[in-house]
């Protein structure tokens, strides 16, 4: 393909990836038990453009108190998870890495379950999830620090698996002792992941962490390319490998811990979306990361909208991301052979 046509293709792609979550977001606001027309939504969201429009109270309440925060959370969380996955795959030079590779999801789940067991309120459950997610990653990193430089990315992945297993065991203990009448079901439901009951105040607590982490990775995205080479090679290209690694791990941990704290465990996005992004635009992270933001946002928004509207009882979104994600992934892999040629 000629360079000019390819440039043109990327411009079109960029526009599509910015437009998709916005258009889908507007559509998603209208979908649900109480359906709202596009014109009403726009009148409500952008009053200056529609002078004299009169939006009724109920519609406005549904939009601002229920649907808009949820749509925004889906966009932010989807983008964040996809970016965190791509970044981990880069720094660990491993296409199978996920945002949970260092055990943050297990730690956060343990923290949340512990908080539910103790009967804490929503705010403290979220806080505990974030804190324990971060603790899990710190433990994983501490386990291998000072163990020598050679093969240290593989050591980090192993340390993450160990920490993940440890916190899964702790989580099992909590489930075991939890009251099966009411506490255990609420732990189970929380773990399945859902964007229900998102409010602007909950969003305000978690979104800055996700957006901040995503921004950091967006800014260092070119460095992810060099990080995916062998460690000595990256060093010999003048890169401070340790510093970049710590920065990226910190940013990804912030993103993932905050997402899990707000929506529970949502799997697949961190693995599926980066691979789709690479199939579309090659392996250069200067394009992969922006593509992940657009695709991740669109994917989680679409699955969440289906999850809450397809049946009268809401389906946990993590179940849907797997059910939809796995076949899409296989189809794409078969079609493209895994890499863009």
């Amino acid at each position: 393909m000629k360079r000019e046509t390819r440039q043109k293709k990327y411009v079109i792609l960029a526009i599509a990836l910015v437009a998709a979550p916005i258009l889908l977001g507007i559509a998603a606001i209208g979908v649900g038990r109480y359906s709202i027309g596009v014109r009403e939504i726009l009148e409500c969201l952008l009053p200056p453009l529609f002078p004299g429009a009169d939006v009724d109270e109920v519609t406005s309440r549904v939009i601002f108190d229920i649907r808009l925060p949820r749509v925004l959370l889906a966009i932010i969380a989807g983008a964040g998870l996809a970016v965190a996955g791509a970044a981990f795959q880069g720094i660990f030079a491993n296409p199978l890495a996920t945002p949970d590779t260092l055990g943050v999801a297990s730690g956060a789940s343990f923290g949340a379950a512990f908080a539910i067991l103790l009967g804490f309120g929503m705010m403290y459950i979220q806080l505990m999830a974030v804190v324990w997610g971060v603790i899990a990653v710190i433990v994983a990193v501490a386990l291998i620090s000072g163990s020598g430089g050679r093969g240290s990315t593989m050591m980090l992945i192993l340390a993450g698996m160990v920490v993940g297993a440890l916190f899964s065991a702790l989580l099992s203990i909590i489930k075991y002792v939890a009251d099966p009448q009411d506490v255990l079901p609420s732990i189970t439901y929380w773990l399945m992941g859902s964007l229900t009951d998102t409010t602007f105040s909950r969003l305000a607590a978690g979104a800055p962490m996700i957006i901040g982490g995503t921004l950091v990775i967006y800014l260092v995205r070119w460095r992810l390319n060099v990080m995916s080479l062998h460690e000595d090679e990256a060093k010999a290209l003048g890169v401070n490998v340790k510093r970049v690694r710590v920065l990226v791990i910190a940013a990804c941990t912030m993103i993932t811990a905050a997402v899990i704290a707000m929506c529970g465990q949502i799997g697949w996005i961190g693995l599926l979306i980066p691979h789709i992004a690479r199939m579309i635009c090659g392996n250069d992270n200067r394009r992969v990361i922006p593509a992940c933001i657009g695709l991740g946002a669109t994917f989680l928004l679409a699955t969440d909208t289906v999850a809450r509207s397809v049946s009268s009882a809401e389906i946990p979104v993590s179940i849907l991301t797997s059910i939809i994600g796995a076949p899409i992934f296989i189809i794409l892999l078969r079609k493209t052979g895994g890499v863009k040629s």
Binding site: A93, R223, L229, E233, G238, R243, N283, V339
Partner: protein, 262 residues
């Protein structure tokens, strides 16, 4: 002297010493080859030279300044490292790979701009692989990948190139392409090279000076003709070797033939 090692010692762990009392120097506009049997520590020597591993005692010097005292990024603006051609986890295109050579010149949050891109393209051009520009590194031959890695090292704009067995796994023609490239970088672009190699013939044909690293961790060094001798090769590699001079239309060559295990 553009590069020097003085009294370098190194051992993995406390007791074992892999490299003993290593001293040698690299003159400006010259090529130095390092020969040695498997396991003698050639790659270790390269890593110690470059500060990727720390000498237990002694130090390396670039233009008289100890390497350990040079800031990481500054050091790697002067040295271009060409590793053995191995594929990375994600396949980048040749131009994307070459651009990574600009890393030492760019800060953590900086991205390569048009000037960096032009430098990368000119490096491809200089060693004659512009046609590979948009090919994926996973879809080109081993020889082409090795050339791409040389282009990446050149994009750093180094005064010294360090190559780790650049002609291993390559066929005759690609070996010659790599060797000719190293030679023309010295002659036309004033870039000195340190080359780790398994081929005494290559050491003889391209280098100004040669080091033989022996299994006990000591070295013999000097100009190519005086170091690559039947006697030295026999002692270092444990094989009986015959050197044979060949004259062809394009010049004189020395053929190194291993005869039997000593």
């Amino acid at each position: 002297m553009i590069f020097e090692v003085k009294n370098g010692n190194f051992g993995y762990g406390k007791r074992k010493t892999t490299l003993r009392d290593i001293s040698f120097s690299l003159r400006r506009d010259s090529i130095l080859s390092i020969l040695g049997p498997n396991g003698a520590g050639k790659t270790t020597l390269l890593k110690c030279m470059l500060g990727l591993l720390k000498w237990t005692s002694g130090d390396s010097y670039i233009e008289g300044v100890p390497v350990s005292g040079i800031e990481h990024r500054e050091l790697w603006k002067r040295i271009g490292y060409v590793p053995q051609a191995k594929l990375s986890a994600f396949a980048y295109t040749v131009i994307e790979m070459t651009l990574l050579g600009r890393s030492a010149h760019l800060g953590l949050f900086e991205h390569p701009n048009d000037a960096d891109r032009e430098i990368a393209e000119s490096c491809l051009d200089r060693i004659g692989i512009s046609h590979l520009r948009d090919r994926l590194c996973s879809r080109i031959s081993g020889g082409e990948l090795q050339m791409a890695l040389i282009a990446r090292a050149l994009a750093t704009d180094p005064s010294i190139l360090v190559l780790d067995e650049p002609e291993s796994n390559l066929d005759f023609k690609n070996q010659l392409i790599v060797m000719d490239t190293i030679r023309s970088l010295r002659d036309d672009h004033h870039i000195s090279s340190v080359v780790n190699t398994h081929y005494p013939e290559h050491a003889l044909s391209i280098s100004d000076s040669v080091i033989i690293l022996r299994s006990d961790g000591t070295i013999i060094s000097g100009n190519a003709k005086s170091v690559v001798t039947e006697e030295n090769l026999e002692k270092a590699f444990g094989v009986n070797v015959k050197l044979h001079d060949i004259t062809s239309a394009s010049g004189n060559y020395t053929c190194v033939m291993p005869i039997s295990i000593a």
